[in-house]
Symmetry: C2
Subunit: 125 residues, 2 copies
């Protein structure tokens, strides 16, 4: 068992190509013994964004706070605190923080399976 608080877990910059002003903290992952899925916390600073990409595994996301949009299927969808988003595998998507520096940026958790593609480790799990 572990208890780890969102606000007390240090986040590290995400170096992935296409990520801009994104930090991440692993909340529950393979290193904690999670056998099926991993919970990660993300913060995107105002004006930043995640990569616009697709991959062969799904996301389950909960927006915790901040302001921004979610790109999917050729359109930007406004998102707000409390929104739960299911992103199926192989669909292009992107999280984009508001550009207003009066905002806190976009905060969310994003879960992924720890394995994909018949047993390979999922990146960032």
């Amino acid at each position: 068992m572990l208890i780890r608080n969102l606000d007390e877990t240090p986040k590290s910059p995400v170096a992935m190509e296409g990520a801009d002003r994104v930090t991440m903290a692993m909340m529950i992952g393979r290193d904690d013994g999670a056998p099926n899925f991993a919970m990660r916390q993300f913060h995107i600073e105002p004006g930043g964004h995640s990569p616009r990409h697709s991959h062969d595994y799904e996301h389950e996301v909960l927006i915790l706070g901040g302001a921004g949009t979610f790109y999917f299927d050729g359109a930007d969808h406004p998102i707000k605190s409390g929104d739960v988003i299911y992103v199926p595998a192989d669909e292009e998507h992107q999280f984009i923080a508001s550009t207003s520096h009066e905002d806190e940026g976009l905060r969310f958790i994003c879960l992924v399976p720890v394995e994909r593609n018949c047993g390979s480790d999922t990146p960032g799990s």
Copy 2:
């Protein structure tokens, strides 16, 4: 893709034996096509609790608000908003809301794998 807000998704009473004043809303589940894990939202009213039980699959939990304790390994652990809890399979556990009716009760999301035990559907996924 789906976007569904926590506050706008109706919750239903949990009829499981040992559950007291617990409601649940499926946020992302098998019926939405989730292939690996399911996200459920729970609310436990003041004085209520989840069953004290164990099962052959894990939980990944994020406390969203309210006050209460988490029973694990023979002790009640205080929990607060932002706490992330990993509950391994086969370990006895229980979520207990504060008894104070001035509190809002305990609100959290709890994720489970959609399959367990070599391919059986996980209950409540």
